[in-house]
């Protein structure tokens, strides 16, 4: 595999304010790479620097082996991008936007746009100002995908989409992976990244603190489990199970953290009368604090 995105100590500062610091990473061809971090961590700054909307303070970025500054137009000819806060002239319709993008790209028609519009139930003939945030986001997704680029850079792509459309989006990313498209997907949703990405880069306070295979991250990710039983049960039954920790028993409710396989927990609980069971993913911030510490180091 060859690298589609390579950054070397990429740094962007806004005067004294932090942007990103010494971000070094490689995204291979055909890979779906998740770029995960809380809001304000530097995800958008990294993407905008890759796209030459921001000029790096130091360091460099190469896309398709081309310099992100010097060869910017050639690079942008090969990628599709969905900005973090997609917006365009609200007087225009989605179709007018797509026609403009198609003309700049030298396309004779709107390519896969009609099929994508049908798939996302997007209305391309209404002015953008008349669309809800979610429906505008659909137009943004279509303009990123419709010309079948070699690289997709998507910044918080599911923002504003309803769950069904989020599902459609994730399926579309899987299909793109099948076609060999490289996808750089920025998100603060751990679940989204886990479902479609091969590897994930974790950025925190402007620094890339880790690059992990998603399978590794998922294997180590814990869940919060809370079970309400029909009557109080002996908590040691659960304490003995592998991966269970931080157990609290209050009356007939037992809450704990479990890492790894949930099957033993479910089987143990099934020996009793269960009124309610809640399983929750940790927040991203919790994952960071658990695996990368308060200062971002493991």
């Amino acid at each position: 595999m060859s690298a589609v995105i390579e950054t070397d100590d990429l740094t962007k500062r806004y005067g004294e304010a932090r942007g990103i610091e010494n971000v070094t990473m490689t995204v291979e061809a055909g890979e779906v790479f998740g770029f995960l971090g809380p809001n304000g961590a530097g995800k958008t700054t990294t993407i905008r620097t890759l796209l030459d909307l921001l000029h790096p303070t130091s360091g460099s970025a190469r896309l398709f082996g081309l310099d992100s500054r010097r060869d910017s137009a050639a690079i942008r000819g090969r990628l599709g991008n969905l900005p973090g806060d997609f917006s365009y002239d609200p007087r225009l319709t989605g179709r007018e936007l797509l026609s403009f993008v198609a003309e700049v790209r030298g396309l004779r028609d709107l390519g896969g746009a009609p099929q994508l519009a049908e798939r996302f139930h997007a209305d391309l003939d209404r002015p953008l100002r008349e669309l809800s945030r979610g429906n505008r986001q659909k137009v943004g997704l279509i303009q990123a995908f419709f010309h079948e680029p070699e690289l997709l850079i998507l910044d918080e792509p599911t923002g504003g989409l309803d769950p069904l459309m989020q599902e459609q989006f994730l399926e579309l990313v899987q299909e793109q992976r099948g076609r060999g498209t490289t996808v750089f997907l920025s998100s603060h949703e751990l679940d989204e990244i886990q479902r479609v990405c091969d590897r994930v880069g974790i950025i925190r306070e402007g620094r890339l603190v880790a690059v992990e295979k998603v399978a590794d991250l998922t294997g180590r990710t814990y869940r919060h489990v809370s079970i309400e039983f029909g009557a109080p049960v002996d908590p040691t039954e659960f304490e003995r199970l592998a991966g269970v920790g931080e157990l609290v028993a209050e009356g007939s409710r037992i809450s704990f953290k479990v890492e790894g396989d949930l099957d033993p927990v479910v089987k143990t609980a099934a020996r009793h009368s269960v009124r309610d069971i809640e399983v929750a993913q940790p927040t991203l911030e919790e994952v960071f604090l658990t695996y990368y510490g308060a200062n971002g180091s493991r």
Binding site: H55, N81, E96
Partner: protein
Amino acid sequence: MSVSTSRSFRAVLRRGLRDHRRVPLSWGLPLGAMCALIVAIYPSIEDSLDELTRNYPKGLKEAFGIEQLDSVEAYLDAEMFSLIVPLTMAFFAVRSISREISVAEERGYLDTILTAPLSRRVLVAGSFAVTALASALVLAAIFALTLAASFAVGADISLGKLVAGVVSVWPLTVFTAGLATLVAGLLHHSAPVTAITTGTIVGMYVIDLAGKLADEVEPLRLVSVFKYYGSGLTEGIDPAAFIGLTVGGAALAFAGSLLFERRDVLA
């Protein structure tokens, strides 16, 4: 110019002209209607103008070039083409450039536009060309309405002088568009771009006016675009001034595109 550059330029031009398709109505119609009104009332007040202008203060007459309102062209020039039309058209140019670049930047549209294979220089060149063409359309509407009014009331305006008067506004508009592009190349937000460019043009107008009134200020007129704008309706077009302002505007726009390329796009 490479194939992709020329394709991108055409796309920006086409999009911009579509965005500006209503300007002959929204800008040309009001200005043209005012010019038409001036021409239409001229025959009825022609005889009393001599007495009226005789009572004007000397300075006012010098400043606005209304020594002799003895023709419909001179009257139209004094009433519309010495102040209202050139300043309004200058503001049109500022607004057009600001909308294409600065408003697009502060509202985040550039993140969509500039991730297509379109260079910033092409975007600026296209926006400048759109403004130049759109202002020509507005001026054409002003010309048509004024001429129609002249025919309707038999004001007998000189076609050649009217063409010269209207055409001479165009390089002033182009120069202002260039100045606005230069400022937009430096600054991220539309409000300062509009304020600085409009303020500079109004300042130049005041300098030109003051220079006509006071000999001590007269040399300063050299830095005012209005000295070169002159009075096309009564004196015809000065080719050197026409070319100078147009080329100057293009040079400012080019400098603006270089500045725009060298800075970050607002997040």
